[in-house]
């Protein structure tokens, strides 16, 4: 059982790290603000979600697990709102973008 959980942790955290890496590469390489935002949200949403998922089997208590999930949900919420606001500001400055 513990081996299976460790495998889950390694796989999930590595996958999460991959999404963070891909998001960062996208942030650096994509040509304009909207596509860069698109790359960034993958790191926030999927990357952090997978890291949290991977860490869940190793937290000491249910409460700590709930806290981790709550952090992920809060990041999801604030990330979605922030990218909406940035995208809107970009659009107002340059309607063709």
């Amino acid at each position: 059982m513990s081996v299976a959980l460790n495998v889950l942790t390694v796989v999930a955290v590595v996958a999460g790290a991959f999404f963070f890496l891909a998001g960062t590469v996208g942030l650096l390489r994509f040509p304009d603000t909207l596509t860069r935002l698109h790359a960034l949200t993958k790191a926030d949403n999927l990357g952090l979600g997978l890291v949290v998922l991977g860490l869940l089997p190793h937290v000491g208590s249910v409460l700590a697990g709930i806290k981790l999930v709550a952090i992920w949900l809060l990041v999801l919420l604030s990330g979605a709102v922030a990218s909406q606001l940035i995208a809107r500001a970009t659009r107002q400055r340059d309607p063709d973008a």
């Binding site: 809060l74 919420l77 604030s78 709102v81 606001l85 809107r88």
Partner: protein, 313 residues
Amino acid sequence: MMEALNAGLALLLLALAVWTIVARDAFAAVAGFIAYGLLLTLAWVQLSGVDVALTEAAIGGGLTGALLIGAVGRLRDTEATARVERPKALTRALAALVAGAVTVALALCVLTLPDPAPTLAPDVAANIAATGVGNPITAVLLAFRAMDTLLEAIVLVFALIGVWSLAPDRAWGGRPGVRHVADPNGILAYIARVLPPIGIIVGMYIFWAGADHPGGKFQGATILAAMWLLVMMAGLTDAPPISRAWLRIGLVAGPLVFIAIGLAGAVTAGAFLAYPDGYAKPLIIVIELALMPTLALILALLLVGAPQRTIQR
């Protein structure tokens, strides 16, 4: 493995610090500074200074960062002219020399510290039971060195008075900052309705956890201030006029309660800011409870700025 991570962190910190200074664009420098604050938070976590890390994330990166972004916005009109002016070579050489000398002096001070460094930590650990709190940082801040915390709170009140004093005469006593207008059905108004209940609970939790775990009134108050600012920025409410009596009472209530308890200590326990035996924990909680709203008000209003709207009389 850990050494490599720490070395990478230190290198990144240095690189960001250099970038923040070298960047010619003010907004880029501020962005660098905020990222620097977040990395510094990680460094404090690595050094097991979780309390300092929380404060750095809340005040150093978050609040100061927001203040600096506001400053950049105000300076935008003058930035182009400022960038054309380059100081003379002599001025720049002198500035580099002085800055370099300060760096070298600081480095020498750090390198010549005795090893192990002088510490009062064992004394704190030996006497912490007398305060009734479990977090040694809180014990130091509110019992052993309560004077520092009191003066810190008073300095913040002075800082806010300093900001307000920039108000033009015609706006004095009015509402600070600008009136924010946002789409009442937009995403900003949505988050300003959804987030504050969560933020208030997290802020109170961090405040309450401060007795036995990392946290405390300062970090909690920053979160409360951020929630209030969010509601103001979404246009759901406006900043209160600075002439309001409740506001001014709130701004001095925390330090006044602190001083009153300190004076009571002079009578009952023999020294200013001393707590009578057995009453340390309840008194510390009273002080923190009184300080937190004051701090939240001050931190939020520092960001809102000076009154600048002409008031209709």
